[in-house]
Symmetry: C2
DNA sequence: TCAAAAGTGTTGTCGATACACCCATGG
DNA sequence: CCATGGGTGTATCGACAACACTTTTGA
């Protein structure tokens, strides 16, 4: 068999929505190279292990699935990265995986990490290896997927309100959406949301209904990001603060 | 460095439109394993070679770019496949690449292939390795990309008519599109098509104008496949034949 | 003059936006 | 009863499907 040999790793872009902002799970490296720097969680593919199995195993370790915390979410392959000089240890190919998980308590470091934390996706410093690139690709994929799939619900807990779902879109797209039109769009899309009998009490205003995820995976017609309207929230939010 | 080692290969899903059908470039294997069976072209990643470089090199070899034939087209990474038992020789990770090329003469086998040929994508027998899966992923990606990008033009030669472009959509989607509405859509999308002064003479009917590709890469709003309308051509074509 | 293919005009429909308005709760 | 947020009704607009119609060629 011709060709030289590679070590094969999986790196995870684990996204969640916290405090109405999109966050990514990063680990502080506990070993060389890039000791002490922040990086995407990941690990090498074990013998007889398939890529998605490695990704799922590491995702569970990092998000504390072993602690009984139910992580539903979503996991899909993103792309592979194999520039010859991307790892000083030698030739390493990394397969990026993209995960969407509901908001959860602070993560517990898994693997060989010194620490782990949720970072706002636009507030990370330079990351180890080529992980800036992998992160950027993951965020872009996430933005696109919300347009034509129902995967936004993967960021939500088992039961959630329409407003919860809207905040996912707003955080991922960094845009503001009309709550009334959004409500109609998602509730009228067959199979996106399954209503429950429950209401959320205790908040201000009229109590919202609770929904579960439906069977639909595709969104027809899609919810398109208007390219002229994206990023409205960046300017709208300060204006709102000034008025309050 | 933990983890076992992999050989890393690139496999190409090279698509083109011939005789109004979507075709894929396959090679007949000239060595074991799967000697004599049909497979996607590919090759191992060389030392100091990046993935896209391997893919571009093999694409040029298979499509005869070295013969002076201008291959413009499009090349993008598709996904990686690394099931432990996918190659009987040992642990091999394959990175799939998707290529769109204009129609061209019969290919000349490159690498270690015994033969190579264009096959209709829905007429291939079972392929070697897990290449059926890679091919299916590539075709699905191609269908999706035509919706929201201008990549259909990558299947066309440097100058082409609106009808040429429509036949690309019809072949990839296996659907029939209204020529008049299609014309308006693509000619009114800023930057998709650049008109030339030339007309195509010699055919029946009014001579069509020739266009070149424009700078636009995205299609806003997208040209959506109506899920209810797909596959019309499968029934429409025989009807047309019966009438002709 | 006819057939064939390119290209334009027009109309109905559907979905999205924008926004007026009502509903249901906590203070 | 007022503020707050959930949710509905509706006018308008833009894009697209459908299809009548005109244009320009070869036979």
């Amino acid at each position: 068999m011709r060709g030289n040999l590679f070590a094969v790793a999986v790196n995870l872009v684990v996204l969640t929505v916290r405090a109405e902002r999109l966050h990514v799970l990063l680990i502080e490296r506990g070993e060389r190279p890039f000791l002490g720097e922040w990086a995407l969680p990941g690990g090498f593919v074990r013998p007889d292990e398939d890529l998605v199995h490695t990704a799922g195993r590491r995702l569970g370790e990092e998000t504390g699935a072993d602690t009984g915390h139910a992580v539903v979410g979503h996991l899909e392959q993103l792309a592979s990265y194999a520039a010859p000089d991307r790892d000083p240890r030698g030739r390493v190919l990394s397969v990026g995986y993209l995960a969407f998980v509901p908001d959860m308590p602070e993560p517990t470091p898994g693997g060989s990490a010194a620490a782990s934390a949720w970072w706002p996706v636009d507030g990370t410093g330079p990351l180890a290896f080529d992980h800036d690139r992998i992160l950027a690709d993951g965020v872009e994929r996430a933005k696109a997927k919300l347009e034509y799939t129902t995967l936004a619900a993967s960021f939500c807990p088992a039961e959630f309100t329409v407003t919860d779902l809207r905040r996912v879109y707003e955080a991922v797209w960094d845009a503001s959406l009309d709550p009334r039109n959004f409500q109609r769009k998602v509730t009228s899309t067959e199979g996106f949301l399954v209503p429950t009998a429950a209401l959320v009490t205790g908040g201000r205003g009229r109590p919202p209904r609770l929904f579960r995820r439906g069977d639909a995976t595709a969104l027809h017609p899609p919810m398109l990001r208007d390219p002229h309207r994206v990023n409205d929230r960046a300017t709208a939010a300060p204006r709102h603060d000034a008025l309050g």
